[in-house]
């Protein structure tokens, strides 16, 4: 009897909730539909939630503060992928009919799936500093964009940082450099570049793969690290692997300032897990952390304080949150550029591609957006869909991420040949169609 009452009550509550929430907001005439593929569940949720919040909040802020971009409101729809490729394709298939201007797959696996599909469907993919490094070649991948830097650029900046700390590139000779990486395509990405640089500069590369099932159980890997005693370690990890690596490094007395993570290994929670011992942990970055920027303060004012964000107040401004903001800023700027080129308010996916190719975020524009010092300028072109932009090394001071180096250029001379070969290989093995999209003037 009691159960029945409860069930009835619950059903009524659900129904009542459903009717109040279904009141669909009246849509303005000019809208731009941006699906966000996010993951707030699954094994990588701890990294996925702040990014999802940051991406959502920036676009929401533009809607609240400016009424959208160039007069067109942004319609944001989140689709939960759980970092699962199967669900990612489901999200793609279910949203592609609604006129999306761009996709952010937020998983290397989903990106790889999407590259051929989105190219056939003529929808741009913005895989911001992840995905297929070779897709930086705009003349082969007209629909795929991966600014501001590839994993190879990142690994080269790491080597540059090591050289700087050791007193020059010639001092790299005879050094042992370890790469602790997720044993999956994403983790193995930097190997090719580090091997090439190792040959060039004479350092020895040691590989420490961590299987996805062993992310939180790295004891044996660190035993090997203790035996080999590498001088520096580069961490190409994601999700639960990063806090574990930081904890293990602390436990094994590995000098923390010589453990450098890729930008995806730079979450606040990743470093916090190591406690006091994590002080000094480094990670590459292409934007700043913290709330000390007008853009983040605008988000706080227009979105977070009004209760429109899912992010807890204290998480706003964390490193991965800001990464989401940066990602959305790229989307918004590309939309703005596309509007300028085409003269339309409600652009479509083909206009968006032109906007992305002509993307030019100058220092003046950064200042205008309230991002002075937040990020380095980004310029893409018809040929270069990545930009190979400057990256810096962030350092964990025990409570937050601070700048640990100057902005450094990647070693483009070493990275470009790898990208050219990889892109040519991809085109050859896939019978990839030649680019038919014309380049914009001046890009």
């Amino acid at each position: 009897m009691k159960f029945r009452h409860f069930a009835l009550g619950a059903a009524a509550a659900v129904l009542a909730g459903a009717t109040t929430l279904t009141a669909v907001p009246v849509q303005a005439q000019d809208t731009i539909y941006v699906p966000l593929l996010t993951y707030r569940t699954g094994p990588f949720a701890n990294s996925g939630i702040p990014i999802a919040d940051g991406m959502h909040d920036y676009l929401r802020m533009l809607n609240e503060r400016d009424g959208g971009i160039g007069g067109a409101r942004i319609v944001v729809e989140e689709c939960e992928t759980g970092y699962d490729t199967k669900k990612g394709i489901e999200c793609y298939e279910s949203t592609k009919g609604k006129g999306p201007v761009v996709y952010n797959p937020y998983s290397t696996g989903i990106t790889l799936q999407m590259i051929p599909k989105a190219t056939a469907d003529k929808i741009p993919v913005l895989s911001m500093a992840y995905g297929l490094s070779a897709s930086a070649k705009g003349n082969i991948f007209p629909w795929i964009f991966n600014p501001p830097a590839t994993y190879w650029d990142g690994a080269s900046v790491f080597i540059r940082h090591v050289a700087e700390q050791s007193g020059g590139l010639d001092k790299l000779k005879g050094k042992k450099i370890g790469l602790i990486h997720l044993d999956a395509p994403f983790g193995k990405e930097p190997i090719a570049l580090l091997e090439a640089l190792g040959k060039k500069y004479g350092f020895e590369l040691k590989l420490y793969p961590v299987a996805a099932s062993d992310m939180q159980n790295q004891g044996s890997v660190w035993l090997n690290i203790r035996r080999d005693r590498p001088d520096w370690i580069y961490n190409q990890g994601w999700g639960a692997m990063n806090p574990t690596a930081v904890k293990e490094a602390a436990k094994n007395n590995f000098p923390m300032e010589r453990l450098v993570g890729v930008w995806w290994a730079g979450g606040d929670d990743d470093a916090r897990a190591g406690g006091d011992a994590a002080k000094g942990y480094k990670s590459l970055n292409f934007h700043a952390a913290g709330t000390n920027f007008p853009v983040i303060q605008d988000i706080q004012k227009h979105v977070v304080d009004k209760g429109l964000s899912k992010a807890p107040k204290e998480k706003v401004g964390e490193n991965l949150y800001n990464r989401g903001v940066y990602n959305s800023m790229l989307i918004a700027e590309a939309v703005r550029t596309a509007q300028k080129i085409t003269g339309k308010k409600a652009i479509n996916s083909e206009d968006m591609r032109k906007g992305l190719e002509a993307l030019d975020i100058t220092p003046a524009r950064l200042k205008e957006m309230g991002m002075d010092g937040f990020a380095a300028p980004v310029k893409l072109s018809c040929d270069d869909h990545n930009g190979h932009n400057k990256v810096y090394v962030a350092q964990w001071d025990g409570t937050k991420w601070v700048k640990g180096s100057e902005w450094m250029d990647p070693m483009k001379d070493d990275v470009m040949p790898l990208i050219d070969t990889a892109a040519a290989d991809y085109a050859k093995s896939n019978n990839w169609p030649a680019r038919s999209e014309a380049c914009q003037k001046g890009s």
Binding site: A18, L21, T22, T38, R40, T41, A45, E77, E78, C79, E80, G82, T85, K86, I89, E90, E93, S94, G97, T108, G109, L112, Q113, P116, K117, T119, A120, L132, S133, A134, D183, A184, P185, K188, E189, A192, A212, S213, A422, D425, Y426, S429, N430, N431
Partner: protein, 359 residues
């Protein structure tokens, strides 16, 4: 009243041994096939085709494979995901080495590679049974998955470790790759699934199937009756892995269209397919379809169907709720009918035969 076999006399042995001895069943299967071939492609959108129907068919095929091993022969396997992977990688290697041969041929042939690997990992089944065998097949899962990551030859030394599926055509129509429409992929897959189900149905109803079931019910008795245990068990492993391999190749080529394959064939996939077989019904082909529908379709239908009918669920909350709902439904069905959905179906048919009389 309508579903009653009264007056249908069997006058020959073949008609007595037919898979569908009752005329109404034959009409029913004809209707289902007509719906699958004509009705669904007519009304379903691209999204339903590519995200609901194609996964359903792929998993049905894999579930049939595991059902042959677990349901009919009584050998528990946790390596189905890996055997699917063998099929996918075999198909990939074959189509890159011989791009001229039609991809459908390679999808079927890749099943034989998987069957071969299945036989090797099936050898311990002569000595060990039950949970111990499950652990032995778990070794297959881990070893094969390790191979998928660590042997770059398998994915043609691709920098991202991904399988890349280029466009392949049949009579000039792209059936595989980014330019293949969901309808075409669905038809190709449907033909493969129907053909292989028909073959499986003939196998399990014939001499081989009977020897499998004899081994399942009591292997010592089966041996005393003259059934060679090793041959029978290995054959079950081979046929089961063949189906899994074809399902894996279909998954990569007709559904996913390439990508990070090593991850798609992980232990979770094996568990999923085992759950499909258990919930659908052990030792039942139709149960494999029910199980696949339940496990693969339900989350997608809930995730995208509920918002479509006006229940605003989105993002993470929806994901959590769907997990809860699917879990609850699994428990519900197993309490209502521990022998799986196939048994529920059988009871329903029995009731229908009696209708409108209560007994």
């Amino acid at each position: 009243m309508f579903y009653r076999e009264a007056g249908q006399y069997k006058t020959s042995y073949p008609s007595d041994m037919a898979v569908f001895p009752i005329a109404q069943d034959r009409i029913g299967i004809g209707l289902i096939l007509a719906a699958a071939f004509i009705f669904i492609p007519m009304v379903a959108s691209d999204f339903i085709m590519s995200s609901v129907m194609i996964p359903f068919l792929v998993f049905s095929l894999a579930a049939i494979g595991l059902n042959i091993l677990t349901g009919y022969t009584g050998l528990i396997s946790l390596g189905t995901g890996a055997f699917m992977g063998v099929g996918a990688y075999a198909c990939y290697k074959l189509t890159t080495i011989f791009p001229g041969v039609n991809i459908i041929v390679w999808i079927i042939v890749s099943g034989f590679f998987s069957a071969f690997v299945g036989i090797i990992f099936g050898i311990p089944s002569l000595r060990i049974k039950g949970f111990y065998l499950a652990v032995a097949t778990l070794a297959a899962q881990f070893f094969l998955q390790w191979c998928f990551v660590r042997i770059p030859w398998l994915y043609n030394y691709n920098a991202s470790g991904a399988i890349e599926v280029g466009t392949r055509t049949l009579f000039g129509i792209p059936i595989v790759g980014p330019n293949a429409t969901p309808e075409v992929r669905y038809y190709v897959l449907l033909c493969i699934v129907v053909a292989l189900t028909w073959i499986a149905s003939n196998i399990v109803h014939g001499r081989i199937g009977r020897s499998w079931m004899a081994v399942r019910d009591m292997d010592i008795a089966a041996e005393l009756m003259g059934i060679k245990l090793l041959d029978t068990k290995l054959l079950a492993f081979a046929v089961s892995s063949f189906y899994a391999g074809v399902a894996g190749a279909c998954m990569m080529f007709l559904w996913y269209g390439g990508g990070e394959a090593s991850d798609a064939f992980n232990i979770n996939q094996s568990f999923n397919i085992l759950f499909m077989v258990i919930i659908g019904g052990l030792g039942s082909l139709i149960g494999s379809f029910f199980g696949a529908a339940f496990i693969s379709m339900l989350p997608t239908v809930l995730k995208f169907g509920l918002p479509a009918i006006g229940i605003p669920l989105s993002g993470a909350t929806a994901e959590h709720l769907i997990h809860i709902m699917v879990g609850g439904l699994i428990i519900f069905f197993l309490i209502v009918e521990p022998h799986g959905l196939a048994r529920l179906w059988q009871i329903g048919k029995q009731k229908l035969r009696m209708w409108p009389f209560p007994y």
